[in-house]
């Protein structure tokens, strides 16, 4: 299915958010997620992705 991952359209198998993270090599990474603009807690990454979903995956970064 087509997912907008961090702003880029990607073809991902899924079907869950956790599966998608594994597909992009972030299965065990320290990341947080938002699905279609709303925070998706780590405990809810079993959520099934739908075609056209927008998934944001963020990580710790430098900041002031």
């Amino acid at each position: 299915m087509k997912i907008t991952l961090n702003g880029e359209t990607r073809e991902l198998t899924g079907p869950t958010v956790q599966d998608a993270l594994a597909e992009i090599g972030l299965a065990g990474a320290k990341v947080a997620t938002a699905l279609n603009g709303a925070f998706l807690p780590a405990g809810l990454r079993g959520e099934i992705l739908k075609d056209g979903d927008a998934l944001e995956v963020v990580a710790p970064m430098q900041g002031g």
């Binding site: 990341v31 947080a32 997620t33 938002a34 995956v57 990580a59 710790p60 970064m61 900041g63 002031g64």
Partner: protein, 254 residues
């Protein structure tokens, strides 16, 4: 030392982690200054996030994640929720920006976001202006610390409105106050502490200095000096001279 939401911080210097020449220099700047808090952000994972997380953990000081770049209540709240999970802290430096040239906070949206987050258990550090009514609203919304800007972020202009900052200090004597943003020189940081502020948050002035590590140390020393000076009850400025050397006993030589 400052106490934020019941947590005593070891040093009133709050230091950002962005814009350093290298991760090693950043870590050295933290060590040289003894900074009490490290501010961080979260961004789309592009490969560097995991190493940075390890570096931050290695500093062994409390981390204050921010919502930098957010322009709406919804963006800021969602970012805060992600930050809480990612950094495992209820602390959030809440930024909601209105104007991109000055990075002036959208104080209306800020109050709304602060209320939503406080109600949800966050401990909010709002990046705000020195406006008394806005600061009062932020306290009403549940904030227990205020972080008025000294000057626009990254401008290095120092304290644009010392009167306003002094007035804020006088109005809220029991609220932890932090000057956040605009610091360029150690003397600016010292001035904030001389006004009775509890801490200073800065980043660019250290990270973009020719020698970040030395500047970090200079900032820490200035903050310490300003804090000591405030506690020592400084004299009032006056217009006319007042001789310090005694006139009594002066030899008559004319």
């Amino acid at each position: 030392m400052p106490v934020f939401y019941g947590t005593e911080v070891a040093n009133p210097l709050m230091l950002g982690t962005a814009l350093y020449p290298s991760p090693a220099i950043m870590a050295d700047a933290f060590r040289a200054s003894g900074a009490g808090i490290a501010t961080v952000s979260l961004r789309r994972e592009g490969g560097g996030g995991q190493d940075f997380h390890a570096l931050i953990r290695g500093l062994s000081i409390p981390v204050l994640p921010n919502t930098a770049g957010c322009h709406s209540v919804r963006e800021a709240v969602t970012t805060a929720q992600m930050a809480r999970e990612l950094f495992d802290t209820p602390w959030i430096k809440l930024e909601v920006i209105r104007d991109d040239d000055t990075l002036c906070p959208d104080v209306i949206a800020l109050v709304e976001a602060a209320r939503i987050l406080s109600d949800d258990g966050f401990q909010v550090f709002p990046y705000c202006t020195e406006d008394l009514s806005v600061c009062g609203r932020l306290l009403d919304a549940g904030c227990q610390v205020l972080m008025p800007w000294g000057a626009p972020i990254g401008s290095g202009r120092g304290l644009n409105n010392p009167y306003g900052l002094r007035s804020l200090r006088a109005h809220f004597p029991d609220v932890p106050l932090v000057v956040d943003a605009g610091i360029g020189l150690p003397s600016h940081a010292a001035q904030a502490m001389e006004l009775g502020y509890d801490a200073v948050l800065l980043n660019t002035a250290v990270a973009k200095a020719g020698d970040s590590v030395a500047m970090a140390r200079a900032m820490a020393l200035a903050i310490q000096a300003g804090q000591l000076a405030h506690a020592a009850n400084p004299i009032e400025a006056r217009d006319m001279a007042a001789p310090s050397t005694p006139l009594f006993g002066m030899a008559v030589l004319s």
